[in-house]
Amino acid sequence: MEYRWWGLDRRSLLPAAVVVCVGLLLSVVLPRIDDAVAVNEIVRPGDRLDLGGGLTIAPPAGWEVLAGIKVGEKTTLPVPEDAADASVAGGGVTALIRVDTFDGTPEALLDQVNHTQKRTSNQPGFTVTAPPVPVETAEGNVGVLERYTSTSGEGLLAAFTFHDGRGMSLSVAATGDGQLAEQAGRIERMIRSIRFTGKAATP
């Protein structure tokens, strides 16, 4: 009986094939399926994202929610008060919102976010193109906003702080062929929509 196949012991082929199949299923097939399934969580007019502890934001209607929980969505566990992430995308730009504990001014928070951005490689060539300017929410909270460029495009960064010891960074990234300017109005309205009631968000 021939025990070799292409120089390999035939008896080793079955266990090897099982491991390869499991490996490919987990590392290739499942991510491909995920890529093929469209995001179906769309922001409707009036929708707000719950960022925990009474902090909410209203992304532009029609954008996709990539991560985050809408106010009023039924959950077993509340959105944590000390740390929440959300991400929305539309019109060729993506906005990443991060809320976490922070004891300081919006300027200090923006400095810290810049410090981190320059040391990570997810946005190579990150360069702030102009000094930060004040930006105000509809409820009167004044934060700071700056523009940046990177090898993958352009974007803007905004930072706000809140009296309960939290801070929020909002990073908007675009590929650099005009989407940022095109979506400027919507982004501005999203920033102005940031609201902090100081108690758990209700629909």
Partner: protein, 399 residues
């Protein structure tokens, strides 16, 4: 007493015992050499591929933020490396009966750390959690996603270490007890590297300002949770898989399936403890459920050990049994040497005084050595076997 039948030579009981010894050594795979480098074995090339691609994924993962979150990552690496040491002692202590070569555990650990964690589980978890969010809402995915993802992706990924080692060392990896030990080491590798990943990910907490405090918090929380975590789950899962594959003797496939399913449930219950505990017991539920889970986890592990051990004990008994015929060991000593800690303790306790207890302890230790030498020699009287026998006799004479 032996009887001769027509056409068959008479068989002495000693022949039967010697045959039983050879069968036990062969069935247990004890003493079989294990080589990692086997160019004719497909699993060897797959091992290189899996470790290589896992290491590549790991480097890519950490390289993105190492400049910003180096403090958290550094503390994670140092603390969890130290955390690994007592685990190695604990698992080494359980590598008993027909013990496995440490090299084999090193492969299981490395595969669990690199291939299972970074090649397989990380992309699969990301994909499934994303699919849950897209299909059932991010709130639902946040509550229940982890517990309905990780058991399937991570337990399967870790169990590939066992399948790979069955391919690499089919004569060595034979019993559910072997599965239990290999699963534990694959789980340990997975857990330690996942812990470091957590330390790194959480370094971004508080916008990366106080990475040291965050990292130490992760070390404490993950270190504590890890006591009944991946090591335990994959030990149970892989022991079950061995029964399911028919390697724990006939008629135990259902038992194997139950252990596999139990490991999935234990893992899922732990990962969803916050939401599940809240649903079951209210606000204090997560803590109550975690407490209960620890008890259930340990009970299932204890049961897996208890059911896996008899096969191993029977092999040791069969290997040492011929020594009773020659009078080197007594039946009681063979039973104690092939038994668990309780059996050994009972044997020592039965000795009349302290001096006899000390001698009995030494004789049991020499019986362990003798069994191992017999396994290495394939049951033949090698010089090492003869030396081990002399040592047993010498120690007994000291009484």
């Amino acid at each position: 007493m032996s009887t001769a039948t027509a056409g068959h030579p008479a068989r002495e009981p000693a022949d039967d015992l010697a045959a039983g010894r050879r069968l036990a050594i062969e069935a247990s795979g004890w003493g079989e050499p294990f080589r990692i480098v086997q160019p004719r074995n497909a699993c060897f090339w797959l091992l290189l591929w899996g470790l290589g691609i896992g290491a590549t994924h790991l480097i890519r993962y950490f390289a993105v933020g190492v400049g910003a979150y180096g403090t958290g990552l550094g503390i994670g690496i140092v603390a969890f490396t130290l955390y690994t040491i007592p685990w190695l002692f604990l698992l080494g202590h359980h590598n008993r009966y027909t013990s496995l070569p440490p090299k084999l555990f090193a492969v299981a650990f490395a595969w669990g750390a690199l291939a299972s964690a970074f090649w397989m589980a990380l992309p699969a978890n990301t994909a499934i959690l994303s699919l849950y969010g897209k299909n059932f809402g991010y709130g639902w995915a946040g509550d229940w996603g982890a517990g309905l993802t990780a058991p399937f992706t991570e337990e399967t990924a870790k169990a590939t270490a066992l399948v790979l080692l069955i391919g690499l060392a089919p004569r060595v990896v034979r019993s559910p007890y072997d599965g239990l030990m290999i699963g534990a080491f694959a789980g340990l590798g997975f857990q330690i590297f996942e812990d470091v990943l957590y330390a790194y990910n959480n370094a971004a907490t508080g916008f990366g300002l106080d990475q040291a405090a965050t990292a130490w918090k992760i070390v404490a929380v993950r270190g504590l949770a890890g006591l009944t975590g991946h090591v335990l789950f994959s030990a149970v899962f892989c022991a079950g898989l061995m029964w399911l594959l028919g390697r724990g003797g006939p008629g135990h496939r259902l038992r194997g399936l139950l252990f596999v399913v139990a490991a999935l449930f234990l893992h899922g219950g732990w990962d969803d403890a916050a939401a599940l505990g809240t649903v079951l017991f209210g606000e204090a539920g997560p803590v109550i459920l975690m407490g209960l889970m620890v008890v259930v986890d340990l009970a299932v592990l204890w049961l897996a050990f208890r059911l896996a051990a008899p096969q191993e004990k029977a092999w040791i008994r069969a290997i040492l049994a011929p020594e009773t015929a020659s009078g080197l060991l007594t039946d009681t000593e063979v039973r104690a040497a092939s038994g668990d800690r309780e059996a050994r303790r009972a044997h020592l306790k039965a000795q009349p005084d302290r001096r006899h207890r000390r001698t009995a302890r030494h004789v049991l230790a020499s019986a362990d050595d003798l069994a191992k030498e017999l396994a290495l020699s394939g049951g033949e009287d090698s010089p090492d076997v003869l030396h081990a026998r002399e040592e047993t006799a010498r120690l007994r004479a000291l009484a």
